[in-house]
Symmetry: C2
Subunit: 375 residues, 2 copies
Amino acid sequence: MKFEIKKEVLVTSMNKVVGVASLSKFIPILNGIYISVADDGITLIGSNGDISIKTLIPKVLNDETIINDIEVGSIVVQAKIFNDIIKKLPSKSVSISVDAENHIFVKSGKSKFNLNGLDSTEYPKLPNVSDETSFDIPSNELKDVIKETVISVANTETRPILNGVNIQSANNSLKFIATDSHRLSQRIIQVSEVSELESITVPGRSLLELNKILDGTNTPVKVCFGNNQVLFIANETYLYSRILEGNFPDVSRLIPDSSTTKIRASKKEILDTIERASLLSKEKGVIKFSVNGGLMAEISSNTAEIGNLKEELVMLDFEGDDIILSFSAAYAMDGLKAISQDEVLLNFNGNSRPFVITPTEDESNLQLILPIRTI
Amino acid sequence: MKFEIKKEVLVTSMNKVVGVASLSKFIPILNGIYISVADDGITLIGSNGDISIKTLIPKVLNDETIINDIEVGSIVVQAKIFNDIIKKLPSKSVSISVDAENHIFVKSGKSKFNLNGLDSTEYPKLPNVSDETSFDIPSNELKDVIKETVISVANTETRPILNGVNIQSANNSLKFIATDSHRLSQRIIQVSEVSELESITVPGRSLLELNKILDGTNTPVKVCFGNNQVLFIANETYLYSRILEGNFPDVSRLIPDSSTTKIRASKKEILDTIERASLLSKEKGVIKFSVNGGLMAEISSNTAEIGNLKEELVMLDFEGDDIILSFSAAYAMDGLKAISQDEVLLNFNGNSRPFVITPTEDESNLQLILPIRTI
C-alpha cells in the first residue's frame, strides 16, 4: 500500500473520522483508523461500535489530482498518534507506505516516521443500510433540527429510549421530538418526498457527532433507514448509527393546543434576565416568574445565604390571566437559546401545567417546560 | 456606604483582584473582596493570605468623573457571586449601597440584587512594605523576565526554596534565576538605580499572578522589598507577596563559561522538530540529539509499541566536537519558547554535561538543561 497526498486534505479528512474512533475503550482495533487505498481514491473509517464514520478522498478533486503514487492496499493506524503526527508534518505533502509486516512509513520533508500498524482484515465491516426508506434534508436545516431537539435528550439508564431524538413522518412532514420527562423539544420540517417512516429513535450522541461533520450549507443530506441502523450521507462522508430499541412514549398529548396566558417578549431580554436570576439560585436553579396585571412580568430568585434578585421584564404583548409559577432557569435558557428568532411567544395554561415557548411567527419549533412546584 | 460607577470600570478592576481571592479555602473572609469607599475613590482588595492584590479606582480619571453619589464606608462582598453579577448587569452604570446590617443593594437598570455582605473590620490588614530597598523595571521587561524564568520553577515540598525565582543585585544589574534541579533559567537585566539587594526568592505563583495584572507597556513597575514581603506597584495596582524563606542554592557554578560544541540554528525549525520527535516519546519524553560531522544534526525518538522518528535538522553554523546525547523534549521546548528571538545558540560540553541555549546575540537570557543518561 502506498500513496502521496496533500497534507491539508489528509488532515481535514482525518478530523472527520478521528473523534469517534478515539472513544472506544473495549475493542482495541476500534482505537485505530481504517485506511484503504484504491485506484480512484482513499477511504478512511473511524468507529466506536455504535457510531461509524466513513469518508472518501477522491483521487481527482475539482480537476486537480490530489493523490499520487498509488499502490492499492489497506491498513489500520493508531488514531490519536497518527492524527497528531500528520498535523505536525513539516512539508505540504506527505507520502505514506506500508510493508508486508504492517509497518507504516510516513515521510514529509526531512521527517521520517515509522509506525506500527494493525491488520486491516480485523477491522469490523460497516453495516448494510439500503436506501429504500430515505429522505433528503439540507445540511443547514438538519443542523437547526439537531440544535433545537438534542437539548431535551435524556441521559438515563432506566429509560434508554429517551436518550435519543424520535423521528416520525406524516403528510410530507417529519416530526422530531426529544424529552427527558421534565421538558420536551419538537421540530416539524416539510420534506418533498418521504417514504412512510415508522417511528425511529436516533441516539442524541450520534446526532452530536453528525453535527460536527455537517457543513451547514444548503447541500442536501440523504438520510436512510434500515436494519436497525440509520445512515446519513453528507457529500463524501457517511455516518452510520444504530437506532434505539423500544417504543418512544406518545408525548404529543402533553403539548397543549390552547393557552390561558399569552406573552410576547424579546428573546434576548428574557434570556438575559433569566441568566441574571439564575446567578442567585442553586445549580439548575429554580426561578420565579409572575405577571400581576399590566405589561410587566417579574422574574425573581432567592438563595438564603447569599441574597435575592428581583427584575422587571418589559413584555411586548400580554393577553389572558395573571400567573405565578416557578421553573428551572437552565431548561428555560436551553430552550430560548435553541430558538434562532429574535422574538418569542410564551404560552401558559395556569400555574401548574406545562408552558410552551415558540418563535413568534413559526410554530414548527416548540420548547415545552414543566413548572416546578414550590411552597 | 454608597456609590454609583460605570459598570465597565468596576468589572475591569474586579478582574484584577478576584482571581487571587477565590483561591482561599481556609479563611472564609478571604473568599470575599474588600471594598472601601472614600471621597476620592474606591479601593478593592483580594487576597489568599500569601498573595494580596489591591487596586484603586480614582473618582476622577482623565478629567472624567467616573464615581458619583459617594457615601464613605466599607464592606466585604462574596467574590465569585459579586463578580458574576456585575458582569451580567443590564445597564452601563451600577449603583451599590450597604445598610447597617451589611446588606448590599446592587441596582442597574431594572435589575435589583440584594446580597449578604461580611463585616469589613474582619478583613486582614495588608502588610507594611517600606520602599527603602526598591528598583523600577518597565512592565514589558518584567513580563519578559517572568516568561523566561518561571518555566524552571520547581513544585516541590521537600525544597520549597526552589518554588520561586531568586533575585540578586550586582553592579547596577539584577540577576533572576530559577531551577528545578533538572534545568535552570537565568535572566540578567540592567537597572539604573538599585539599592544593594540581598538575595531574595519570590514564589513562582506570585509572579504568575503578577503577570496577569501587568499591562505590558513600558510604564515602570516599582518593586519594593522588606519585612519578608515584596511589593510590586503597577499604576494603581499593588501586589503583595511573601518571600520564600531559606538560602537559594548557589547555582552559578553550574553554568559553563566555555563550550566544546557550538551550534547556531533557527529557533522555529529546532522547536518544530523536537515537537514532532516528542510525539513518539512517552510523557515528558526523552529524545536523542546527535551531530556526526557536517552541518546536519539528527533528532530522533522511539517508543517500542508505536514506532520511531528520525529527522535531520539543518544547522546555520557548527563548530567543535561531534556529540550524541539525550534530553527531555518538554524542557527543551519550554526553554526555546521562552526565547523571543528567531535564532538560537546551543552550547554543549560533551555528552554528559549540561548544555545551554541562548539567543544568538544576547547572553542576558540563558536556558540550561541537564542531559539524561540512556543506555
